[in-house]
């Protein structure tokens, strides 16, 4: 692991974000290295989801710089952005699962738009998240937790190094949470990184915690 563990993947430099004339956070500096598990903490409404969305490049309302492997990501060239998107997996509040389609069809689409990036078969990914036998059930027949699991099956499918998970444990049962924790740990020790938010207690000891509340309104006026 040695060398790979110290490789810096994402770097945030004096990030500042404002929503509705309210400063969510400012002067946020953060270096995410290969092997990092980073939990973004803070009370409701402090900007955790906003920060994660900045990192997915879908939101561009911020000041400061984001670097991907030392190259500027925001406003930088397209190749850096493409390289980053190839390595990015995001599971957000919204599952991104179509209820009219079956679990298999949903994941087929995911693999299709990320084609060539598949680590295992869709069947085995669904088996890993405990949906064996539900491959061809339309998703509107699935429970909230099962829907969530369909979304989480992407974690098994993708070889992306950067995992951004917004409240991944929502609606997941205890055993599922334990499995997810060990999966995250395994991913990190394999040279990836995980950035996530949760309000639950996580039983992994090598987590780095970022308290977003500390970056709120540092420079008043």
């Amino acid at each position: 692991m040695g060398l790979a563990m110290t490789e810096s993947l994402i770097e945030l430099k004096s990030l500042r974000c404002e929503r509705d004339e309210r400063v969510l956070f400012e002067r946020l500096d953060l270096t995410v290295q290969a092997g990092d598990l980073i939990q973004v903490e803070g009370p409701n409404g402090c900007g955790k989801t906003t920060l994660l969305r900045l990192l997915t490049t879908t939101s561009a309302d911020f000041d400061g710089d984001i670097f991907w492997r030392g190259k500027l990501l925001n406003g930088g060239n397209g190749a850096t952005r493409l390289d980053y998107l190839n390595q990015l997996l995001y599971v957000g509040h919204l599952a991104g699962v179509k209820k009219a389609l079956t679990a298999r069809e949903n994941l087929n689409w995911f693999c299709g738009i990320n084609q060539g990036h598949q680590r295992c078969s869709i069947e085995s990914a669904l088996e890993e998240v405990g949906l064996f036998g539900f491959e061809d059930v339309p998703c509107h027949h699935l429970s909230a937790g099962q829907l969530r699991r369909v979304a989480l099956a992407r974690l098994f499918l993708t070889p992306a190094r950067v995992w951004i998970l917004d409240e991944p444990f929502t609606a997941i049962d205890k055993q599922g949470v334990a499995n997810l924790e060990s999966l995250m740990l395994e991913h990190a020790s394999g040279g990836g990184c995980v950035i996530f938010t949760t309000h639950q207690d996580v039983k992994i000891d090598r987590i780095r915690k970022i308290d977003l509340h500390r970056y709120k309104g540092l420079a008043a006026a």
Partner: protein, 249 residues
């Protein structure tokens, strides 16, 4: 393309992903994935799909009842009437183009996939046209008979609608993308899109009218073709930009 063996190998796998940078997936495979998915969804939601077609059918059926069953009057109204109703039926169906993707988070996934958004929008619009514009075009001659359209008008009606409805779907996608994040975007969508639809309507209806009166229609069809060519190139670009803005907000 790395298709790996299932779960047992996962541990070894993780260590090999470290240094390599991943290939960008092919544009067409991404296009097909979205095309197939939207097609499947359209088939599963057949009821919604039938809405604009039913609207088209009902309005045209009402015309002879409401205006006059007189053959001469109907024949005069037919080209414009069919075109206007086809346009309104398309407008009716536009709101849902990106709405459900926006609401369930698929749109976010699409935006952060390494696929060019242009082709993804094009895939979605193609499916939209296949389930609204194409059925409207195919039904139009039948409704032409109901409105006693002179026989010289049928082929031009088909041709102009074929080109025109594709334009309508493409141009409409810009409005749908701009208003997708608004909770009540329906009215705004119509306001944005209507001015862009008028040239298509004018040339489309005029092609059928000219044919009925015995004039050549090459000019009008050429203009419609030009509209289509320009909107294939520009409309998905504009819609892609609008989607980024909508999701950003």
């Amino acid at each position: 393309m790395n298709v790996y063996e299932p779960s047992q190998n996962r541990n070894n796998q993780d260590s090999t992903i470290q240094a390599q940078s991943l290939n960008t997936p092919g544009v067409w495979s991404g296009f097909w994935a979205t095309f197939k998915r939207d097609g499947l969804i359209a088939v599963r939601h057949r009821g919604e799909m039938a809405n604009p077609i039913m609207f088209f059918l009902m309005v045209i059926t009402m015309v002879p009842l409401g205006i006059s069953p007189e053959k001469a009057v109907l024949a005069m109204l037919a080209p414009g009437m069919i075109w206007v109703v086809a346009l309104l039926a398309t407008l009716l169906s536009l709101d849902g183009l990106f709405r459900s993707d926006f609401e369930d988070g698929s749109l976010e996934q699409l935006l952060m996939s390494p696929q060019p958004l242009y082709f993804q929008v094009l895939a979605k619009v193609s499916v939209h046209w296949l389930v609204t514009g194409l059925p409207l075009t195919i039904m139009a001659p039948l409704l032409g008979v109901m409105l006693s359209l002179p026989s010289a008008g049928f082929a031009p009606l088909l041709a102009s609608l074929l080109l025109g409805t594709a334009c309508l779907s493409l141009i409409g996608s810009i409005g749908a993308a701009l208003t997708v994040a608004l909770r009540k975007g329906g009215l705004l969508l119509s306001l944005i899109i209507m001015p862009l639809y008028t040239p298509v309507l004018i040339f489309g209806a005029s092609a059928v009218n000219s044919a009925v009166e015995g004039f050549p229609i090459g000019g009008q069809l050429a203009v419609l073709g030009a509209f289509l060519a320009v909107s294939i190139i520009l409309a998905p670009l504009a819609a892609a930009g609008a989607l980024r803005i909508s999701v950003n907000g």
